[in-house]
């Protein structure tokens, strides 16, 4: 299992051929209370750094970007009824979508947990 992080505060966890994507605890804290999430549908092609999902707090809408290229296999349906899962469990039940990777080597350029931690400390 590999978990990697982007500078835009997405996390991606690869298990077998499928990766799960969400936003980090730092990101959910910065956003505040999440009231709406729009996740991509299965089959949607994603490009690294491009819009993949939308997360809205009381105050503002933010884009969630695809950490790598690939294809969505599942969006987290639970977020429709309980968007606050993004706040309460951002790296668990608050995941956004699962995807297959068209270029797994893109993961290597992302930050590991330790690098992300020091990146956030520097913000």
């Amino acid at each position: 299992m590999t978990i990697r992080f982007t500078k835009d505060h997405e996390w991606i966890k690869l298990e077998g051929d499928v990766a799960t994507v969400g936003i980090t605890d730092y990101a959910q804290h910065a956003l505040g209370d999440v009231v709406f999430v729009e996740v991509p549908e299965a089959g949607k092609a994603l490009s690294q750094g491009k819009d993949a999902a939308v997360v809205e707090s009381v105050k503002a809408a933010s884009e969630v970007y695809a950490p790598v290229d690939g294809t969505v296999t599942e969006g987290n349906a639970a977020l429709a009824d309980e968007p606050a899962l993004v706040n309460t469990d951002p790296t668990g039940k608050g995941w956004f979508f699962k995807m297959t990777l068209s270029n797994p080597s893109q993961l290597d350029a992302l930050m590991d947990e330790e690098a992300y931690k020091s990146y956030v400390e520097g913000l």
């Binding site: 997405e10 209370d33 105050k59 884009e63």
Partner: protein, 377 residues
């Protein structure tokens, strides 16, 4: 993840409560040139609900407080009425009106609260419009001495159903003050001027206090068990649910009071007599109606529609734009307001909001989205 909330590097002004906000753990953001608390550790959602259920304390010291004096208070009122359509002359001492500075085209230069006192008139103007309003008054209020309180005064708002209980504890009798009235008092030796008014739709008070006393007063209010500090984030969601306009968003120079649904602020006398900037246009609109109107909009489902979202009719024609929109914690769903063509302004009219390129079904809705709970005596 990203959003478009840019932060421009600039020298920000501070209110007298700045260090208290930091101490309380507020997240600070630039707003109208000030470094202001957008939220405290409680978070926008809970701050909003706390205000609706208990009482919230807001720092609104960034707003402009101005005293107007002249040969007589009547002379000041007569001069001021040339700039606002509100019936200031009808105010008894200690009473307040909500009105607007209009321009020659009937557009809104700012909205403001006007209080008549025995020997002067006190107005509160928006932070972002202070410079423009002060210049406008200096130019157009002959014989009126304009005293801008500036950094010498703080302004606190105590809002919510428990506000009267809290104020009565500090100023016995405050609970009986009529809505839209003002008085002076001393709270633990601190001289204050305060009104029964606010910007949340709830009962509450707005308290003007010398800058040097602001923090002591804020600490005293926050020490009351019902009171929590509330940031600008919840202030915005509260006023949106209450259907109240935010200058620069829901009203500006391109909107008239009539288009904005603020005709209720113009009395029979002022409608008949005119005598304010843009009166001819506003009187004609009162007579003949307007081509567009500010309305409430309720999106179906859970997705909020934000400011600048296009509003389309059922045939895909753009009929207006959202001017304020977000999530209403008390409404427990998305709420918005905006301007639509008058033909589509009836409550219940189905419309589509174009959010990220996709139509979101919505309906024109009555405001407020959370019932006003002003003190009725």
């Amino acid at each position: 993840m990203g959003n478009d909330a840019g932060t421009a590097p600039e020298t920000l002004l501070q209110t007298p409560l700045h260090s208290l906000h930091r101490e309380l753990g507020a997240k600070m953001v630039p707003f109208a040139g000030y470094d202001m608390p957008v939220q405290y550790p409680m978070g926008v959602l809970k701050e909003h609900l706390h205000t609706r259920h208990q009482a919230g304390l807001f720092d609104v010291s960034h707003m402009g407080q101005v005293r107007l004096r002249g040969a007589s208070v009547e002379a000041v009122i007569a001069a001021l009425e040339a700039l606002v359509p509100g019936d200031v002359a009808a105010l008894a001492p200690g009473r307040i009106r909500y009105t607007m500075f209009t321009d020659a085209q009937g557009g809104i230069l700012d909205d403001l609260m006007v209080t008549r006192f025995d020997d002067h008139v006190y107005v509160v103007i928006n932070a972002g419009r202070k410079r423009a309003d002060l210049a406008h008054m200096a130019e157009n209020l002959p014989g009126v001495e304009i005293e801008y309180l500036g950094d010498d005064a703080g302004l606190l708002a105590l809002q919510g159903p428990a506000a009267a209980t809290v104020m009565a504890r500090l100023v016995p009798g405050a609970e009986a003050m009529p809505f839209m009235s003002a008085t002076t008092a001393s709270i633990n030796g601190i001289p204050v001027q305060f009104s029964r008014s606010g910007y949340t739709g709830e009962d509450g008070f707005e308290i003007s206090v010398a800058a040097r006393d602001s923090e002591a007063l804020a600490r005293l209010l926050l020490a009351q068990p019902e009171v929590a500090p509330i940031g600008l984030g919840a202030r915005d969601s509260l006023r949106l649910e209450a259907g109240l306009c935010l200058y620069g968003h829901d009203i500006d120079e391109t909107t008239t009071p009539i288009e904005a649904g603020l005709a209720w602020t113009i009395s029979k006398r002022r409608r008949a007599e005119g005598g304010f900037l843009g009166a001819a246009i506003i009187q004609a609109q009162l007579q003949n109606g307007t081509t567009r109107k500010r309305v409430g909009i309720l999106p179906e489902g859970r997705q909020p529609a934000r400011e600048h979202t296009d509003i389309q009719d059922q045939d895909g024609r753009v009929i207006g734009q959202v001017t304020s929109g977000g999530f209403g914690p008390t409404a427990n769903g998305p709420v918005a307001m905006g301007y639509v063509a008058t033909a589509q302004a009836a409550v219940g009219t189905p419309v589509n909001l174009i959010v990220r390129g996709k139509p979101l079904a919505a309906k024109v809705a009555a405001m407020p989205f959370a019932p006003h709970r002003y003190f009725k005596g």
